[in-house]
């Protein structure tokens, strides 16, 4: 927008040249038109800060389409502010808990605990979810999908009494008293407000793209997977069909082939994967939709960096990938909303047990493939690290 007046100037000059031979009336009329245009430009000029689009942003072709909300474009200023807010314990009631307390970069933005613990010290019902590649996959956030945008999501843990327990008005006062934040908010959004806190954190989260794992390098044709990993990849990508002699790990029915996340259409990325029998089903997605058919459905997470994000499932009940595979291989519990794709998947024909019936080598191959999703570039990327750390500041 800063370039506009200059451009208009050039345009006026060229228009004037062409008007030389026309009658005076025409010149007067066009003079008015130019004046009107100038007034319009001044009036319509946005009053917000001058921001720069984020230049370093890129994503692999195979990840596909994504949407960034029109009212929160990715800007260098917004991301810089969001990164600082993400790592700042000032955002909690006791000034000791930040977003990064439960989302550590070294663990692909999880915390290694079955149940995260915040300000209250009471373990939360849920496991901290990785923040990699949130631009793709289900755009309903939290395990039960209760936030409909990252902007909305970002503000909820801050105010949750068991997480950061921070009163929003008090937080705005704290930020207004801090001249660094006054400057950063001024540059990114103009003013300090709850909405802009959400926008900034969401912007930073959108930049957390994991796309340089061994699997990514394989997809780019830069390397080959070893025999075991390749066997695991094939199993991952196949729904078993004993009749067609196709063995499968059944992963792709819920975890998309490249993103390895749940599907982004409507609530297709939420499923009941057989953790509980009917009597003990938790509400899950039902808490949001009110539909009995959604009881026990939880968000299908991305499996990117899965070897780093133990323990597993929404409640962190499994401590290892072996336990996860054992769950799908004989631990499934039947309920009315169990995914028919899990209910039906069996590598053994005419077998009525609820099991994939994978053998030991197949399970090991799947785990080997899951390890190819670990992205060391992502967990060491300086752009995503704690800006308060002295070492990082030197590197910037």
């Amino acid at each position: 927008m800063a370039l506009l007046p200059q451009q208009t100037g050039q345009m006026i000059a060229s228009v004037d040249c062409e008007l030389m031979s026309m009658p005076k009336v025409a010149i007067i009329i066009s003079g008015f038109a130019v004046l009107l245009l100038a007034v319009a430009i001044i009036v319509l000029q946005p009053t917000g800060p001058q921001t720069r689009p984020l230049l370093s942003f890129s994503a692999p072709f195979v990840f596909g389409h994504f949407n960034i909300p029109a009212d929160n474009p990715l800007t260098a200023e917004g991301v810089k502010l969001g990164r600082r807010l993400f790592y700042d314990p000032l955002l909690s009631a006791n000034n000791r808990v930040s977003c990064a307390t439960c989302h550590l970069q070294q663990l692909a933005f999880t915390d290694g605990k079955a149940h995260s613990v915040g300000v209250s010290g009471i373990p939360l019902p849920f496991n901290s979810m990785s923040l990699a590649n949130t631009l793709w996959g289900p755009q309903h956030f939290f395990w039960n999908g209760r936030a409909q945008s990252l902007e909305e999501q970002a503000l909820m843990p801050i105010q949750d009494p068991n997480e950061m327990a921070q009163d929003m008005n008090e937080l705005i006062d704290k930020l207004r008293a801090d001249e660094v934040y006054v400057r950063l908010f001024g540059a990114a959004y103009g003013e300090i407000s709850a909405k802009n806190i959400g926008r900034a954190i969401a912007s930073f989260e959108r930049t957390l793209i994991s796309a340089n794992s061994k699997y990514d390098q394989f997809l780019r044709g830069e390397l080959k997977l070893n025999t075991q990993e390749e066997r695991g990849r094939k199993l991952f990508m196949a729904h078993p069909d004993a009749k067609a002699s196709l063995r499968g790990g059944n992963c792709i029915d819920c975890h998309s082939q490249f993103l390895t996340s749940g599907f982004n259409t409507q609530f297709d990325g939420f499923t009941n994967n057989g953790l509980e029998a009917e009597e003990t089903l938790e509400p899950g997605l039902e808490a949001l939709t009110g539909l009995a058919a959604d009881r026990g459905k939880f968000k299908v997470p991305s499996l990117r960096n899965i070897a780093l994000t133990a323990p597993y499932m929404h409640d962190g009940r499994f401590s290892s990938l072996e336990q996860v595979l054992d769950h799908y291989n004989g631990g499934i519990k039947l309920s009315s909303t169990l995914s028919p794709l899990i209910f039906e998947a069996n590598n053994q024909q005419n077998d009525s047990t609820l099991s994939l019936n994978l053998n030991k080598e197949e399970k090991q191959a799947l785990i080997a493939f899951l390890h190819t999703l670990t992205d060391n570039t992502f967990i060491n990327d300086k752009r995503f690290s704690d800006p308060f750390s002295k070492q990082v500041q030197h590197n910037e």
Binding site: F63, G64, H65, K243, Q257, F263, N264, T265, F343, E344
Partner: protein, 249 residues
């Protein structure tokens, strides 16, 4: 003075001409296709075992139903209008049980036929390009080595004391079904929507009646997939009804 009159006259002529072009000349516009789902003579409901197993005992429920409609053509008196990137993922899990495609900027013509394919053409089926509603990370994608599911049906069959999961994922390029619908009267851009019935039951009870208990899932077995494809060739029909409220149970 004369010159001024000539100028004014010219302006009036140009304005009148433009107005004529704008309002009376045959314009391009949109053509709307509306697809209304039902299950035989019943309305489409999700998650309830309402529908008799066509070839055997028990009743089945529907958890999910999605199908790719693609390569839409309108056959006109002067031209064929081919919709670009025409891959439409039809789903009916909304209140109206309706899926709507709006084709915009269709050039003016009198169109007598609509051509729709069920499935995805071979070239797009083996590509990673996200065109139209094709999404290699979507629910309808198998792995890139296999391609897309053309039709997805998931549900359950309730028999006396048992429940059987139903999984019908049908794909493979040979199962692309091209359909041609001759309209009772020609349409032009801007006409009323063209209504189609989508009879989900046709998948199990048209060319052949299927006993869901003996064939509870279809995925990669080529014969089974082609059996269901012969049936889904009868999925669509031009709607004959005047009103389009969901049918009553």
């Amino acid at each position: 003075m004369n010159k001024v009159w000539i100028a004014i006259f010219t302006v009036i002529l140009i304005l009148a001409g433009s107005a004529y072009m704008a309002f009376y000349y045959h314009q391009s516009g949109s053509v709307i296709l509306e697809f209304h789902a039902r299950v035989g003579d019943k309305s489409l409901e999700f998650g309830q075992p309402l529908y008799p197993n066509p070839g055997g005992k028990g009743r089945f429920s529907i958890r999910a139903f999605q199908v790719y409609l693609s390569d839409i053509h309108l056959v006109g008196s002067k031209q064929d209008y081919q919709v670009s990137d025409s891959y439409h993922l039809a789903r009916f899990d909304n209140e109206t049980r309706r899926y709507r495609i709006e084709l915009s900027d269709v050039p003016y013509d009198e169109y007598s036929d609509v051509m729709i394919s069920i499935g995805v053409d071979e070239e797009a089926n083996s590509s990673l390009m996200p065109r139209g509603d094709l999404d290699p990370n979507g629910r309808m994608a198998w792995s890139w080595e296999v391609g897309y599911k053309f039709l997805l049906f998931e549900g359950g069959l309730e028999q006396e004391n048992s429940r059987l999961p139903l999984v019908y994922h049908v794909g493979f390029s040979e199962n692309l079904k091209k359909q041609r619908f001759n309209l009772p009267k020609t349409i032009t851009p801007g006409s009323a929507p063209i209504h189609f019935d989508v009879d989900v039951l046709a998948l199990f009870d048209s060319h052949q009646s299927i006993d869901m208990a003996t064939l509870p899932s279809v995925k990669f077995d080529r014969n089974d997939a082609s059996l269901l494809a012969e049936n889904y060739a009868n999925l669509l029909s031009l709607s004959v009804k005047e009103s389009h409220n969901p049918v009553e149970n």
